[in-house]
Symmetry: C2
Subunit: 208 residues, 2 copies
């Protein structure tokens, strides 16, 4: 199937399916109907069937979905069947929080290193890691098969840091800096703009 | 104008407009054309005109938008013209990072208190705050005009903590717990599911 037919909206929903299936696994459920999954996730059963049909179905009439199989298949689609090595730029509170986020490890998302431009943070222990200087980036990325860089830095240095990382071969950026990155076409960024998110609540409080 | 006509997609774009206008203000720009704003934001000029028309326009033919005025107006729509008092539940790395996030303060989003169920964290200093026990929640919310509760806690206690906060009058939840909250109809949650976001990148690396 050509990759382009998967809409962005479907791609955004996949991690949510994966999350619900993880919960079902924890509850020792072996199978689930699209109706039950629908009730739990708060989307229509037809939406679920349509979404999962994008990836070849997986469901069986009268049986529903096999939880383990569907989760494994979604994990494969989401690229979770192979480990991904991540670095974090910025060892402030947020960078440290992301370095210690245990949810990642279980999904094969492994934080291999954390870096900071501030010399007074270099050498500081963050969990099992030790903060490294920016001058160590190039070699570290080459030697550790890093595929994702997390930017937990202020907006001002974000563009130049992203350009530097791109130069070292990084193509996937997880961006917490409060600015949209202007990247070459063969790179992608996923933004987590915390203030933008919080403003959805202030909007609701003001207009809801 | 009836509130229901503002689509969710437009509401999600508003903070981004606000952010770009803040940058323009920092650059001392007095006005901007929809074409220039379009180029910077990477959306079409017609989209921008259409979005802002939802809120009464603000633009003038041949002049463009007045940066200060448009930012003030968007701020008003986003509920940023009055301060909002926030509490954070969970004083782990993430809770501490959110408590110290300076971007909020400048937008009138004030973190008034941070709480944790773990007695060994109670009393710990986090910036200007001191971690409080969960038993102090009820009085604190009543006495400090709290409108938003941030959940920086694991998924297991999230539902019961949200229910407790709802009982104390909280209606807006900023949820970092890795689970969707099932809230009464008069409450709202804005989810920041970090793993879901990171999986957009692993998907891209796998399928891009």
């Amino acid at each position: 199937m050509p990759k382009s037919v998967i809409s962005d909206a479907v791609k955004r929903r996949l991690p949510r399916y994966y999350r619900f299936l993880t919960t079902l696994q924890e509850e020792k459920a072996e199978r689930i109907s699209s109706e039950e999954l629908s009730r739990r996730m708060g989307v229509t059963a037809s939406q679920i069937r349509q979404d999962l049909n994008n990836f070849g179905g997986f469901g069986q009439q009268g049986y529903g979905y096999n939880v383990d199989k569907l989760k494994a298949e979604l994990g494969r689609i989401l690229g979770l069947d192979t480990p991904h090595h991540i670095i974090i730029i910025g060892a402030g509170n947020l960078g440290q929080a992301l370095a210690g986020y245990s949810n990642f490890q279980t999904r094969g998302l492994i934080v291999k290193g954390i870096f900071d431009a501030n010399p007074s943070l270099v050498g500081k222990r963050v969990g099992d890691l030790e903060v490294m200087p920016m001058s160590a980036l190039k070699d570290f990325i080459r030697d550790n098969d890093i595929s994702i860089a997390t930017l937990a830095i202020p907006k001002e240095p974000a563009a130049s840091v992203a350009a530097e990382l791109y130069g070292y071969g990084i193509r996937a950026f997880w961006n917490f800096a409060h600015v949209d990155l202007d990247l070459p076409e063969d790179a992608v960024s996923e933004n987590v703009h915390l203030s933008d998110s919080l403003m959805q609540l202030t909007y609701w409080l003001n207009n809801g």
